[in-house]
Symmetry: C2
Subunit: 479 residues, 2 copies
């Protein structure tokens, strides 16, 4: 029922069969009587070459006025076309087949004087301002396909392992991290001169409401019913940090397992990342080869270790992740303290430079750091016997630093209550979360993976705003 | 690496192999020296029976104090357990295998005096107030598994047909429907006495921002680059309607295809629904059988046509959907005008009672209604030649009414501009949307499916708040 896409047509053997190519013109070259039109429909990085022979024109062309001259004039870069013809072996290098054109229809042209994507190479900054068109370029088409391919790989991975996908709430009255900068969700008008008498009691939800920073707490409730669950949904931070690593709106994957220790959590995280790296190499091979060619290397766009994108992924997919405690990590870092901007020091969070050093210089690959000081981690993490560190684990990868953060959760009611009190949290609003420790409590663990961080790692794109269709950041919510 | 779930253990042949069952106690029965414990871990509707023989107690039990008496005392409904034993053929009816217990550990008990899920049957209303525990019941466990199963079926369906999954923005400055009630997203405080001097220019995004009501407009931009895309994400309506059909936060699936007419759109919608109904029957067979048994019939919970859930799904999955125009539909309804609360009348929207009549009485199955009056449909729909109706299509199903709404989009710049002006819309803020009609415009079509509506239809659940883990509605944002 659905017509074949360009990638489907390209997979046919060129045995003179009739095909119709639908897509957008990337380039047009004229040589005497031959016109070469490269058409791309976004189904793959490669388009297909269509060759129109003026001498063989049968008149089956349909431009604005239905004649060949007007049709050919409309065939500029960006024009939408339907090209009918025969699939034949191509004499040109780099392609098996091309289309010998018998008829052309141009549903919509793209005036050369105004179409913004005329030039072959635009800067990423230029394209960021034209987010509605940038998926028509090689780079952003490839990013979009890798996102889609890896999203499917995420679902496949968890489904094969008995995890149920769940949707945790986006609007919430809780702060899962205990300390996040949250966006308010309201039907009140902050610019209104009259304030509502009942305060947030008069707001839509009858209370103050926010955009979620994490679905973890709700995921825990379902893990304690269905054993294994995961979320894959949007999360939000109202942090005014204008960096290449932060977004106000991003997508997060959060598995949660009952009857699972921190070791089980690390095993799952390692399997998960390896499976995603393998999926990128196998399911998105053409696009990864493109990134490997254009976004690898030492030009500030590639990886710090001087390896290509594909090579780093292959290495990470087959290596054993090195595991070390935070205390061990700090000890290693102290040996090279002179090479850092921030001095490594037990009790302080690891900086990005420290994380990269651990992966690139010490381990030569991914590292899982465990048992962080409790002061720098969230309230829900299970305390170790030393009562100084918690059963947290971060997965660090070369080039990027932290890609996954997780922990075993505190499943003891008394210990969790005490910790919340120490931190001055309002226990009342977490009654349901504490209920999990009252009724059938089990050891359980989980982690979070920022989907955009993953796409950055797999594509080599430096700016996180280039791996999500419509990035949201301070001052940025157009489209 | 991951331990076998109960559904995995149940699929083994009972040949005296050692197993460990991890889950939560549903029931415990004592008969002389035998204790029967039904354990469920949420991996399937069915749990597994574990039989403890006091006479054979080897002492491998581990309660609060590590001895058998305390362990058995802790084995109440809701307790978390790890039970070791041998999988043996069961003499009981309705199960092939059971576990002959050799050792029991109780990581967390559930005090009978306070655990809310003691009773076997709680009302749906009672459980709605305990959303953090309700997935531990048969009904809500089954809803959760069907949600997960169908979410996967959605991704599989589109992936097999060359659609790329994309994430459209949640926070937006546009109103895709041109008339929705939207939630504001802000870092300003509506209760603050001082108003920001620069208005929303001083807000986080430097402009007024809202939660999206639909990802369609942004999906169109990607369809005009990648040919076929779909979204699957949350959408929001700030409507104060306290009904069994509305949520303030829900999940929506929106495919969008380039080079596609309204007929292509109808074909896709029909294939899509049939494939989801088939997936429910095949991938979620045990859970659907449960709903068929408990939520079918004429008790106000089942379907209007007197058929069971499974039968309705099978019929819809194999039938040809009836197609008729809105004008034909109104003519049919007028013949039975006396039986309706609202008189059918050309130019007015179809009421739920009309939609049900068309499917249940006229067609005896799903119906696709096309060519609605333009006044009752959105600005972006393509005008028919009569200039009175638009190329819209709604898919209606028995029991529920509208389940899908879609259209061919207006791809003509002049016509779309004129329509936006007629409706008094701010064209400036849609410059990027209009660009799609300036550069390589193509006929394109798509639709939206509310995921919770689908789950309602497939499970027979009457109240939409019972098919999403944590429902959001006016006055409701706890957890």
């Amino acid at each position: 029922m659905l017509f074949p896409l360009v990638r489907d047509i390209r997979s046919l053997s060129p045995e003179n069969q009739d095909v119709t190519v639908r897509g957008w013109v990337r380039t047009k070259r004229e040589m005497k009587n031959l016109i070469f039109v490269e058409v791309n429909d976004g189904s793959s990085l490669s388009g297909i070459q269509c060759v129109f022979d003026r001498e063989k024109d049968g008149g089956g062309n349909d431009g604005a006025a239905g004649n060949t001259a007007e049709t050919l004039a409309a065939l500029g870069t960006g024009a939408a076309v339907e090209i009918r013809g025969r699939l034949v072996p191509s004499p040109a290098a780099g392609q098996d087949a091309e289309v010998a054109v018998s008829g052309i229809t141009v549903p919509g042209s793209a005036p050369a004087e105004s179409y913004p994507l005329q030039k072959k190479h635009h800067s990423l900054e230029f394209l960021r301002e034209r987010a509605h068109l940038r998926a028509r370029t090689n780079t952003f088409g490839a990013v979009a396909r890798v996102r889609s391919g890896l999203a499917f790989a995420v679902h496949r991975f968890f489904r094969e392992r008995g995890f149920q996908y769940m949707h945790t709430p986006i609007i919430t009255s809780n702060d899962a991290e205990g300390a996040g900068s949250m966006f308010r969700v309201t039907t009140l008008d902050p610019l209104a001169s009259a304030k509502p008498e009942s305060g947030y009691g008069g707001d839509f939800f009858g209370r103050a409401a926010y955009l979620t920073v994490s679905g973890q707490l709700e995921a825990e409730t379902y893990a304690c019913a269905l054993s294994r669950v995961y979320t894959f949904g949007p999360a939000f931070r109202a942090e005014n940090s204008n960096t290449v690593r932060h977004l106000a709106e991003f997508w997060m994957i959060e598995p949660e397992m009952a009857f699972a220790s921190l070791e089980d959590d690390m095993d799952l995280a390692e399997d998960f990342l390896k499976s995603l790296f393998t999926a990128a190499l196998q399911d998105c091979a053409e696009d990864i080869a493109f990134f490997d060619k254009h976004f690898s290397g030492g030009d500030g766009r590639g990886n710090g270790a001087g390896k290509g994108i594909a090579e780093t992924l292959e290495a990470a997919a087959t290596s054993k992740f090195v595991r070390m405690t935070y205390t061990e990590a700090v000890r290693e870092l102290e040996k090279s303290a002179g090479s850092f901007e921030y001095r490594p020091c037990w009790g302080r969070d690891l900086q990005s430079e420290h994380e990269k050093f651990l992966t690139e210089k010490i381990a030569g690959g991914p590292v899982i750091v465990t048992s962080y000081p409790r002061e720098i981690k969230a309230f829900y993490m299970k305390m170790n016997d030393d009562e100084k560190t918690v059963r947290a684990m971060d997965v660090l990868v070369p080039r990027l630093g932290e890609i996954i953060g997780g922990s075993q959760r505190e499943d003891d009611l008394q210990k969790l209550s005490r910790r919340m009190e120490e931190l001055g949290m309002k226990k009342d609003s977490y009654w349901w979360y504490l209920d999990l420790r009252r009724y059938g409590s089990v050891p359980h663990s989980g982690f979070g993976l920022g989907f955009e961080r993953l796409i950055q790692y797999v594509t080599g794109m430096i700016n996180i705003r280039d791996v999500i269709p419509y990035p949201r950041a301070a001052g940025q919510a157009e489209f």
